[in-house]
Amino acid sequence: MTVNPQPGGRASSAPIMGHETEPTLFEMSVPSRSAYQLRTTGVLATALGDLVPVAHLNHEVVAVAEVSERDLVAHFTRLSHRQFSVDLGMYPLGSCTMKYNPKFCDAVAGDPGLNAVHPGAPASLSQGWLEIMVTLEEKLCVITGMSAATLQPAAGAAGELTGLLLMRAYHQANGEVRRRVLIPDSAHGTNPASVTLGGYEVTTVPSNGRGLVDLDALKAALGSDVAGIMLTNPNTVGLFEEEISEIAAAVHDVGGLLYYDGANLNAILGAVRPGDMGFDIVHMNLHKTFATPHGGGGPGAGPVAVASRLVEFLPGPRATRASDGSFEWVTPARSIGRVHGWNGNSLVLARALAYIDVHGGDGLTRVAQHAVLNANWLRRRLHEILPAAYDRVCMHECTLSASGLKAKYGVRALDVAKALLDEGFHSPTVYFPLIVDEALMFEPTETESVQTLEALAQALERIAQRAHDDPEPLHHAPQSTPVSRVDEARAARRLIATADAER
């Protein structure tokens, strides 16, 4: 197959005016300069000292910054030019699902009819919001094959912890004290961290030579003290756990529950559902699967859907359809309680519903198909220079290994990742999952064209050629970016977390 590598998703033409340091807001500050303008209210301007006891007043002025609106705009615009983004180019970060975020969904969330509603407004005055929540919950349950969901968790990790508390409440209601939760050695770090906060101990289950859960080892680890297992499927290597039914049966046999980490749900939309695989609790990362933007590290949203036997424990209050067709808040009978200050990351939820509505069932199915197609095409295209850790059909992402480049030329996965920045692509995820040596995990996503994939492949070929010809400069890549490799050790040795810190 010959593909013209037109740079659809390649960002190497992005204009950069120079490589100087941008001053901080505080360095730009000039006394008495200001940008703010406030409404004329007609309220009498009583002195604060007449309203509040003097003992409460801060006699020092808390300095913010004093800049003009023009300087404010220039500063944050220049900062934005020092930032890679999905809108700028391909962002093949494995496990992170950096697909294109439709602008329409942002427009939906930007409507004051949604974003100017106070979260404490009574249900009768916020019926539209409750309907959005009920509708989204119903659709997420169709997609995952579950019975009901909470929309409160603000991110995937918050969903995990919520799921573990649901697990705990379920076992407690059955009069059982269970101590351990099983986790594969390929799991995301949030899984074990959440297990600890959920009051459980982690038992790690090894992977087998095919990159999947070792079923015999899993069975050996099971016992009546096991509360459940947390699994990502497809797993973090990008492979489908083909023995999922056997795993589910074994865990259920000892009275444990199956938790589905939905980080990779985007791979299986319309193809297979967690509920049909035997999962009891499912979290979804709406910012991954349903393309709500990541915001430089958040906000996300991590709804948790459950099987019928767990519905009564869900966090509350939940938006619910009343018998008269209106919507109301209801807290389940044995709810674990609230897991968010208000109703969850509502505007993220609205974006996800808009995304689902645009795609429909067929569109979501195509999303998964094309994501898997792209990952497999890239895996196959690259297998001579960066072979897959497990060379067979993968799902939405492929885990490749730079161990060959390292052995032959001393070029590590990190060097490849950094050199790719000079080629106009964001790096893949590196050194994860931990079970793969010199891992480079690529998740091209369904929104990149085959021309972009070809351009990425050719960029990686050039890097491999450079490794062969003259590897030394690769250790100093990137060079075309706003800054070169940063001294992480220095940052950690002497923490400078604010402009006021001692230097």
Binding site: R82, V108, H118, G189, P192, G295
Partner: protein, 455 residues
């Protein structure tokens, strides 16, 4: 049929051919048939954007309480502040909106520097030197602070003033199911925490609100003394807008500051995404939850920023991490830095002052009405609680007919009786005034409340 997929039919065919496959289904052939979904997803057909917009127009029409249609006097941690065009324009820049967590610092200096500036502002507003890069919201920030207190002391008893927002306390109780923390809630008397009514011995944390959720300005001296006496961490949940003029958490002696940062540039948004503010003392830095950005240099000696002290975090420390937080609320943190930059030193003081002026003006008017009394005789800042002659929820419904969102019914927040209110909690209304409320709007509030109580 609408979507955002670039592949043509020819592309798909050629790509499948490259893989030696006949159809897209072949890509899923290794999934056992027993679990395959064969019927397709039972969802409606895909719609065009304009068609979906029409559906959403129905939702927005049904949101009668939107601040564009109803004057907002509701607060409780979610405030109707001015967000100017310039802040919206900058915060909506797609370079910020569509970026990922800054794992590759060479191409993420924009977000990293904006977070560094945000951290500086959180540090100044809290009076504490070590901020983090943000948490989900105020409530979950409190939970992280409690976990920090457990890590610092090895103890599990958390003594929390019921002047902390009821939702925050509810969230703390939920997560205590997993951590095993004992949550002791201290009742309020006349709107002020009655610290002497509980046993603080063996506590990991003493937690106070400033102002507390009923708006009352409490003297935190005794709370701090208790924490010191019992070697517990002193955690202050403070209103960051008030911090523009009031004593900072650090000045009250806090070890940890937590707060809700929605007021800095984020719309009411029906509760999220909001912004969890967090800062602590140097002594707690190794127990800090979530990310922190630090300043360093690149290989040519240029200033650069990078996420640091990573060894605390879940992706490295796994089950021994200080927190499970991965995704946080970066975009809201960046927004807060922009909004604070717009406000500047004196704009922040000005909005804090105007909130207090408006709230006190409204309060004085209301005190003249029959059927209205103050829940507390103590000084307040920008929010206050009233005990009415009618259930608060009923009054809210009546005043909505006059296009006023009257406030929050405290029993709806607490879900029933609560140690923060001694009696008649169903009649307690929490009212706030921001710098956006005009004298005319405040006067209209007074007439509407009077009318509602007489109806």
């Amino acid at each position: 049929m609408a979507d955002y997929l670039p592949h043509t039919t020819n592309d798909v065919e050629a790509m499948l051919q490259f893989l030696g496959m006949d159809s897209l289904d072949d890509l899923f052939a290794h999934i056992p048939a027993a679990v395959r979904l064969t019927s397709g997803l039972n969802l409606s057909e895909g719609l065009s954007e304009p068609d979906v917009a029409a559906i959403f127009a129905g939702y927005t029409a049904a949101n009668k309480a939107k601040a564009t249609a109803m004057t907002c006097f509701a607060g409780g941690g979610a405030y109707d502040h001015e967000v100017p065009a310039v802040v919206k324009a900058l915060a909506n820049r797609s370079e910020f909106v569509t970026a990922y967590t800054p794992y590759q610092p060479e191409v993420a200096q924009g977000v990293l520097q904006a977070i560094f500036e945000y951290q500086t502002l959180v540090s100044r507003l809290s009076g504490l030197p070590i901020p983090n890069a943000s948490l989900y919201d105020g409530a979950t920030a409190l939970v992280e602070a409690l976990n920090m207190a457990h890590g610092a002391t090895g103890r599990s008893k958390m003594v929390i003033s019921s002047g902390i927002h009821p939702h925050w306390r509810q969230v703390a109780r939920t997560f205590a199911r997993g951590t095993g923390h004992e949550i002791v809630e201290v009742p309020l008397r006349d709107g002020v925490t009655g610290w002497s009514s509980v046993d603080v011995s063996h506590a990991a944390a003493v937690v106070a609100g400033y102002p507390n959720y009923l708006g009352v300005l409490e003297d935190l001296t005794s709370a701090k003394s208790l924490a010191v006496e019992h070697d517990a961490l002193f955690i202050v949940g403070a209103d960051p807008v008030a911090a523009g003029v009031l004593k900072t958490a650090g000045q009250w002696g806090a070890d940890v500051f937590v707060g809700e940062g929605q007021a800095f540039g984020t719309a009411l948004s029906f509760g999220g995404p909001y912004l969890g503010l967090f800062a602590c003392t140097e002594a707690q830095v190794r127990r800090l939850p979530g990310r922190i950005v630090g300043e360093t240099v690149d290989s040519s000696g240029r200033r650069a920023f990078v996420t640091t002290l990573r060894a605390r975090e879940q992706d490295i420390r796994r089950e021994k991490a200080t927190s499970n937080v991965c995704t946080n609320q970066t975009l809201m943190a960046v927004t807060a830095a922009i909004q604070l930059g717009w406000l500047g030193t004196y704009g922040l003081r000005e909005i804090a002052t105007r909130c207090a002026q408006g709230a006190h003006y409204l309060f004085e008017q209301l005190m003249r009405l029959e059927g209205v009394e103050a829940v507390s005789t103590q000084p307040f800042f920008r929010e206050f609680a009233l005990r009415l002659s009618k259930p608060a929820s009923e009054v809210i419904a009546l005043m909505a007919e006059r296009e006023v969102l009257a406030g929050l019914a405290v029993d709806a927040l607490s879900g029933g009786p609560d140690p923060s209110v001694e009696d008649g909690i169903d009649r307690v209304l929490l009212v706030t005034v921001t710098e956006r409320r005009t004298k005319d709007e405040i006067d209209h509030y007074v007439t509407s409340l009077q009318e509602a109580l007489q109806r």
